[in-house]
């Protein structure tokens, strides 16, 4: 399109409203950022600095040794690895189940389709905490207690993600499917060669949201993991709290350690996360 020559008019109202807007946003950002900043500085303080009143803002000499101490108190590396493994399995499972579920509900017609879809949707109305007892008994009876599988199995099929993906699948022009059928394309090939690549943004959003969900999961992993071999960072941190007892600076250092992978994750997928939560989230 040709660029239209714009007359520049200084709009005072606009500038004032911009200033107010950015000021409020800055204050909000600072408030949100403050706990993280406090965590970071405290993790580098000595005990007396950490519990001093009035509070000491910055350590006189950064106590990097805190990190070494904490790293050796608990197998944090193990926790992080456990979490990463569970997250990857969880994401892979969620993506596969969502894709298959959404494909069936959008492209196939079968008996009781509406009924089954409603059932899937109803699962969204049940709070996860309500299911814990049932899931716990199931996992125990399957002798899966204290395994990775126990951590991610109950949340593999998600009504919400199936719904979200189905909506996107249903927006595809039906002629694509028909044209593929005329060419003898199998449902399986059409799904993976056409549907999935064409909806990769949505699927990526689902992967990211489910990754974050699994990483932040606390109550369920805490219940089904018992040993350091399977514990995730969230419950590992809780276990560490009792050992660190009142050493606030160690607590903060531990928290910083478990936060690092998530920060890296956010840094790498920043754009997709904003798209996913902002766009895909609302749309879904």
């Amino acid at each position: 399109m040709p660029r239209i020559h714009e007359k520049r008019v200084i709009d005072t109202k606009q500038i004032v409203s911009d200033i107010i807007k950015y000021a409020l946003l800055t204050i909000g950002a600072l408030i949100l950022f403050f706990p993280f900043l406090w965590m970071l500085t405290t993790s580098l303080k000595t005990l007396s600095e950490a519990i001093a009143t009035p509070p000491v803002w910055l350590p006189r000499a950064p106590q990097w040794v805190n990190y070494a101490v904490v790293w050796n108190m608990k197998p944090f590396m193990r926790y992080i690895m456990n979490t990463v493994i569970c997250c990857i399995c969880h994401v892979a499972g969620v993506v596969v189940f969502s894709v298959l579920g959404a494909y069936a509900f959008s492209m196939y017609s079968f008996r009781f389709k509406g009924f089954f879809f409603t059932l899937f949707m109803l699962t969204m109305m049940v709070p996860g905490e309500l299911l814990i007892i049932q899931n716990y008994i199931t996992i125990q009876k399957m002798h899966l207690m204290d395994t990775y599988i126990a951590v991610f199995l109950p949340t593999l099929a998600s009504g919400f993600y199936i719904y979200m993906l189905r909506e996107h699948f249903m927006q595809m022009p039906p002629s694509l499917f028909k044209s593929a059928k005329v060419d003898g394309t199998s449902n399986w090939r059409f799904l993976w060669r056409v549907m999935v690549p064409m909806n990769r943004n949505t699927i990526f959003t689902i992967a990211i949201l489910s990754f974050i969900g699994q990483w932040n999961a606390f109550l369920w992993p805490e219940l089904v993991t018992r040993t350091d071999a399977t514990k995730l960072v969230s419950s590992g941190l809780i276990a560490f709290r009792s050992e660190a007892s009142s050493n606030v600076q160690y607590m903060m250092a531990g928290s910083c350690i478990v936060l690092i992978p998530m920060i890296v994750f956010y840094a790498v997928f920043n754009k997709q996360i904003i798209n996913g939560v902002g766009g895909g989230g609302i749309k879904g």
Binding site: S175, K178, V182, D183, R189, M198
Partner: protein, 348 residues
């Protein structure tokens, strides 16, 4: 592959979209399914493809009854109005996609697929666009890709659903010649659906004109235009359209306005609906009419006047001086006039 339809019927609940259609679509020819929207022409095409199932009747491809055969077993190529290209694949991947569905001994390796894709790409003249994505192509180019994809598996029948309706006027002219050329070169039996009479008349070997699910006439373009079987066929074809007026025939004389008329032979006495093609009128002396409107088209002009109280259009040479309000004298070429039964619309 000759296609034979026997009593083919499609009902959607209470609506009959295609009503007992029996016809033969000739082998290796380009057949146009023509009709106003909602006449059942697309439904008929989709029944040929197998995507829409048949309520009654049967479809034969050659000697083989394919009425209940699945779409992929019919060896057809289908091009949709919106082209339905896969947006994430390149042109070559799009064209070769149907070949990837082959299994067993028909399985093709990457080189064979590439060669097959290149062969059809050359036919539709898109060999330079093989690495582009559909988004980077113009409408006409996308159409070519869609045709190439339909042709790559060497189908017995090529079905085109309103293939040119998404293109602008100039491109449509170009592409319809291309469709014709591709069809002639590939010699594939082709059926295409259109609501554009000019499109159908210009490139088809034979036209099947439909109305409300019923075939009105099947004939080559010249034949269907010159020899319409009923008033609907006569009115649907031709631009500007044919004019109808009530006429009485008595003793071989057709009486029109104010004592004006002409003589005919072989038409029994009685009341008729008389259809006069605009080009039936030529400058002359027999009819004196008052010009109401003149529409200049360049190569000719459409002159409107009243005859028997009905508006009649005539296409006259552009050089002929016709001014609004003046009276002009015209002759009528009676071979472009048709008599229809006023009740049934059937030609007499």
């Amino acid at each position: 592959m000759e296609i034979t339809l026997k009593n083919l019927t499609k009902k959607f609940d209470s609506v009959t979209a295609v009503d007992h259609v029996s016809l033969t679509i000739p082998d290796g020819k380009l057949t146009g399914l023509l009709g106003p929207s909602g006449c059942g022409k697309s439904t008929l095409l989709y029944m040929l493809s197998g995507l829409t199932n048949v309520t009654e009747g049967s479809i034969f491809f050659g000697d083989k009854d394919v009425t209940v055969e699945a779409p992929d077993k019919r060896n057809i190529g289908l091009v949709f109005q919106n082209y339905s290209l896969y947006p994430h694949m390149t042109v070559e991947e799009n064209i070769a996609f149907p070949l990837g569905n082959r299994h067993g001994k028909d399985r093709m390796n990457a080189r064979q697929k590439h060669e097959a894709a290149c062969r059809v790409a050359e036919l539709v003249q898109i060999q330079d666009l093989m690495n582009r994505k559909p988004k980077q192509l113009s409408g006409g180019q996308q159409q070519r890709v869609a045709i190439a994809r339909a042709l790559v598996k060497q189908p017995d029948v090529l079905l085109l659903d309103e293939p040119l309706s998404n293109l602008d006027a100039r491109l449509r002219m170009e592409m319809r010649q291309e469709v014709r050329r591709i069809q002639l070169e590939s010699k594939v039996t082709t059926v295409f659906v259109t609501h554009d009479q000019e499109e159908a008349m210009s490139i088809t070997d034979t036209i099947v004109l439909m109305k409300k699910g019923v075939v009105q006439q099947q004939a080559p373009a010249r034949e269907i235009y010159m020899n319409p079987s009923n008033a609907f066929v006569a009115s649907f074809l031709g631009n500007p359209p044919i004019s109808f007026l009530d006429a009485k025939v008595a003793g071989g004389q057709v009486a029109l306005d104010a004592g004006q008329g002409f003589s005919v032979s072989g038409v029994a006495d009685g009341a008729y609906s008389l259809g006069i093609r605009p080009e039936a009128w030529v400058p002359g002396h027999a009819f004196h009419v008052k010009v109401e409107h003149v529409e200049m088209r360049g190569q000719d002009q459409i002159v409107t006047f009243k005859l028997n109280g009905v508006q009649v259009r005539a296409t006259l040479d552009a050089e002929y001086q016709a001014n609004v309000g003046e009276t002009i004298s015209l002759d009528l070429r009676t071979n472009r006039c048709y008599f229809f039964n006023p009740e049934t619309g059937v030609r007499v």
